[in-house]
């Protein structure tokens, strides 16, 4: 059981943040991680920037372009994460597109994940069937979790299939939309969350795509293990002059602390 599995076993109403590695500046990756942990975030997805992120909206696209211009690459990212486990204990998931990972070498990539203490990987353009045939044993050998996406259009039997085969969590795309496209929940989304909740799946579920405030966060927690915030965080950090302070304020606004 890795950090991610333990977290889901022990805690609910999880807040996860997605941010792009190497953005807004190349060396911001680890300071952002530390600030997120301090401010009470439960786990993170670190975006591995790609030149052509076709499942992402304009905010994440732009951050990816900037990160690449800053010199971010998988080699640089793993170098930055080399000692991260001395300072950060929350689960870390890497999220990105398949081509840079293939180029790096899938086995080498997974070895580096294990070495640096990365717990899981999300590759949206690696379809489940191809993952199962070619890569699942490589993930399992190293104890790296994989996560699949489901959408309102995913048929129930496919939801079951993905549920049975995920070793991390199911990433529920909250509306069939690219990231950062919507605010607030509508009836269509509520129906979808209810339908998935009532399937009583074995895997933890995180809602992503379209969560940007406390109201939408606490609403989706009624149906899932928690939510992932991406574009709203990136918009905030882009304009920040004091990362630690602004991150703390932002996280507090999503999930007020009891103390």
């Amino acid at each position: 059981m890795n950090r991610l599995n333990s977290l889901f076993a022990n805690k609910k109403d999880l807040l996860s943040i997605y941010f792009t590695a190497g953005f807004p500046r190349l060396d911001d990756t680890v300071p952002i991680l530390k600030a997120l942990e301090t401010s009470g975030v439960d786990f993170v997805e670190i975006g591995m920037p790609f030149s052509d992120p076709l499942a992402d909206g304009p905010v994440i696209q732009k951050s990816s372009t900037t990160a690449l211009e800053n010199g971010m690459s998988l080699t640089v990212l793993f170098k930055q994460l080399e000692n991260v486990r001395r300072e950060v204990s929350m689960p870390i998931v890497l999220m990105g597109y398949l081509n840079p990972v293939l180029r790096f070498g899938v086995e080498r990539f997974l070895d580096k994940c294990k070495e640096t203490g990365v717990d899981g990987v999300i590759l949206p353009d690696l379809p489940f069937e191809m993952y199962r045939e070619q890569y699942s044993h490589l993930f399992e050998e190293r104890g790296i979790s994989n996560t699949f996406l489901i959408t309102p259009q995913t048929p129930p039997d496919r939801v079951r299939l993905l549920d049975e085969n995920t070793t991390g969590f199911l990433y529920m795309v909250s509306s069939a939309a690219v990231t950062g496209a919507k605010t607030g929940l509508n009836q269509f989304q509520i129906d979808y969350f209810t339908r998935i909740r009532d399937m009583e799946l074995k895997s933890p579920k995180m809602v992503g795509f379209g969560i940007s405030n406390q109201e939408s966060f606490s609403e989706v927690c009624k149906y899932a293990n928690g939510a992932i915030v991406g574009s709203a965080f990136i918009r905030m950090i882009e304009n920040s002059n004091n990362i630690a302070e602004d991150i703390d304020g932002f996280i507090c606004s999503l999930k007020p602390r009891n103390d």
């Binding site: 076709l54 499942a55 990972v101 180029r103 489940f128 995913t154």
Partner: protein
């Protein structure tokens, strides 16, 4: 005939590397496309429209003065004479019938030179369907007449402003649109690229080109097999259509020409075969221009229709299996070929098609050789470039 396996792979190329959001749509298309394409009612309507609306069969013209110059028998397959001015309409007529059969009301497309955008806007007007065309902002600038045509036909042209603002970026935007509009929208892809089943579907819809070449050659020279078939490749749809029915005729040499831009070693090129290697673009494993880190390289070509860093997976397979040869052609070589065809035969070709014609001086032809060159489109849309380059 070369068909992909049931997962969409030609050898190691192709497949469907797509996010889960696109899987229901792609899966529905994969499950239905062959049944629809092979149905009696589809075939009847498709061929009627190709004949009475597009103006097919397109002529196979013996270019006598070009033949004299190159000392061989040069035949031009005149796709430029299709309605809308290129081979693109063959594919859009087929896919619009498919979209209608599947009950989709809204059509989206990507376009580079604007020829596929115009062909899509045209069939949407014909069928009364909504049409949104994504086009790189750079291409909107350099292909202004086609932008105006699309708007006149009732399409909305949306600029893609990421990357080099060309065909790759327009394709990204179209895919994002499809992710955001999964229920009512049909993505009408213009080339033999993208996730399975698009490469196979588009190749089948363009195969009419080689089917006609065979019939026409038979009646003109008594055999249906030429010595060469030559076509340009961006994504590779007119080449796929030109090669399709010759793939098993090993005596026929197949040559695809890709855009070298300022030269294959210049860094300003779109020659994905010469400069690329294996990778994933727009859902397909293929030859791809990319950095050492697996980031897709921004391409360059004078020709908006060939300005793409990848290539259809069928062509990647044909290259590796050596069934077809692929040769890079520079901007300048293409421009020379534009003027040569214009002055020798009275035909102003599109910049894309000129990349196919430009290979003629590089071949060692025999006087008995029969060479078919596909003129994929006409040059009207390129007049701005021609006026600048030829001081007209």
């Amino acid at each position: 005939m070369i068909e992909p396996n049931n997962k969409g792979f030609y050898g190691e190329y192709g497949g469907a590397y797509i996010p889960e959001m696109l899987i229901p749509n792609i899966e529905e298309l994969r499950a239905k496309y062959l049944d629809i394409l092979n149905s009696e009612s589809f075939r009847k309507e498709y061929h009627l429209l190709l004949c009475d609306y597009a103006g097919r069969p397109s002529p196979l013209f013996k270019a006598e003065r070009l033949s004299a110059k190159y000392n061989a028998n040069i035949w031009l397959k005149r796709e430029d004479l299709n309605h809308t001015g290129s081979h693109k309409l063959n594919n859009t007529i087929g896919q619009i019938l498919l979209a209608r059969e599947m009950g989709r009301k809204r059509i989206i497309a990507e376009t580079g030179a604007g020829q596929h955008g115009v062909a899509t806007a045209t069939v949407c007007a014909l069928m009364g369907l909504d049409c949104v065309v994504y086009m790189g902002a750079t291409d909107i600038e350099r292909q202004a007449p086609n932008v105006a045509r699309m708007r006149m036909l009732g399409a909305e042209v949306r600029p893609a402003t990421s990357g080099n603002k060309t065909l790759k970026d327009a394709t990204n935007e179209a895919l994002r649109d499809w992710i955001a509009n999964p229920l009512d929208t049909f993505y009408l892809i213009g080339s033999v690229v993208g996730p399975h089943p698009y490469p196979d579907m588009v190749a089948r819809l363009q195969a009419i080109i080689s089917s006609e070449i065979k019939e026409q050659l038979k009646s003109k020279i008594g055999t249906n097999l030429p010595d060469y078939v030559i076509a340009c490749v961006g994504g590779g749809s007119n080449a796929a259509g030109s090669f399709y029915h010759f793939l098993e005729d090993e005596s026929v040499k197949l040559i695809g020409t890709e855009a070298a831009g300022l030269g294959v070693n210049s860094g300003e090129t779109a020659a994905s075969m010469a400069c690329g290697d294996k990778g994933i673009i727009h859902g397909s494993m293929t030859y791809l221009m990319q950095s050492d880190d697996g980031q897709i390289t921004e391409p360059y070509s004078i020709s908006a229709g060939l300005d793409y860093p990848g290539i259809g997976p069928l062509h990647a397979f044909l290259k590796d299996s050596k069934r077809a040869d692929y040769m890079p052609i520079t901007d300048d070589e293409a421009l020379d070929a534009v003027m040569e065809l214009t002055r020798l035969e009275g035909i102003i070709p599109a910049l894309e098609s000129a990349h196919a014609l430009a290979v003629l001086p590089k071949l060692k032809l025999k006087t008995s050789d029969h060479v078919v060159v596909t003129v994929s489109g006409r040059g009207d849309k390129d007049m701005k470039t021609y006026m600048e380059r030829f001081n007209l």
